[in-house]
Symmetry: C2
Amino acid sequence: VNDRSRGSRPGGRAAAVVAAVHKATLELLNERGFDALEIPEIAERSGVNKTSIYRRWSTKGELVLDVALSLTQVDVPIPNHGSLRDDLRSLLHSIADMLTTPFADGLLRAFICARDDSEVLVAQRSSFWNERFRISGALVERAIARGELPAGTNSNQLLELASSPLFFRHLVTKDPVGDEDIERLVRLAINAFTV
Amino acid sequence: VNDRSRGSRPGGRAAAVVAAVHKATLELLNERGFDALEIPEIAERSGVNKTSIYRRWSTKGELVLDVALSLTQVDVPIPNHGSLRDDLRSLLHSIADMLTTPFADGLLRAFICARDDSEVLVAQRSSFWNERFRISGALVERAIARGELPAGTNSNQLLELASSPLFFRHLVTKDPVGDEDIERLVRLAINAFTV
């Protein structure tokens, strides 16, 4: 199936192609992870011509990062339980849960293992993380407003300290993360920034 | 060159083969990183038959992890400046510097991007990190002995909190790590464990 044959409005057609390819990529990423993901299969699943896919995204790394980036533009619910401890605990649990999904694991591999660290990829990665930190930062800003953290606390630094061990274990040591680990990270991160 | 033709004592020959393959792997890893590393090239460089290499290490991931593991059995100098702040600063600088080398980056990719997460690989990875944490733990034990940290402080937990953001930036966000970032991580980790 050639995507040129579908749709009538050029803008609508391009958007439909992007949506179909993104959807197929997400599904396949979820089903089999990044390593086994192949552009010909994405073409088949999406009904979009392989050549059209390569014209827009030169590698699967670029395509997966584009999917990731589009997902961050969706509203992400940020915990708002009225206390920093509860909000941070929820956030860390979400991150830990997310990391166990083939989808997020696939995204991370796309980020880390891409053989083509092109400018496009670097820019996409940077946008992705800036956006994630900006969105989650609301949790820290609310804690400052409630007087739970000193004014001027840097939310990126706090979120990085609290969440990095989750990524470290997931990617590097592969040690499991339990509830007690999350409880400890919440306590340590709050201690670190309130001394 | 077939390794069967070299050496006279079986034990000595096997050890010589392992040493030659390890050395070639390290050199090639340093020269071109994990992605571009290929077993046929390691065979050529080491003068060990490709078939002999595959007989012992079924994938390049396994081989590289075996090299990594053998390196951790070498004595690693642990900073001992007489203060936790200075020791932790030195350790984090060493980690940050190490992560920028093609060799360490290659090792990490071998850990993370290996397509074959075999039992062997999982066991090697676990040994590698247990050993790294055990060795670096001396720094925390000395701080406890000097009364800089509470008795019973868990050294793995402290080292994990302090160093994870370095790995997070190197692998995930690719944000650079400056002296001021290391200074902050030292301060935050100490705060976190001394409240």
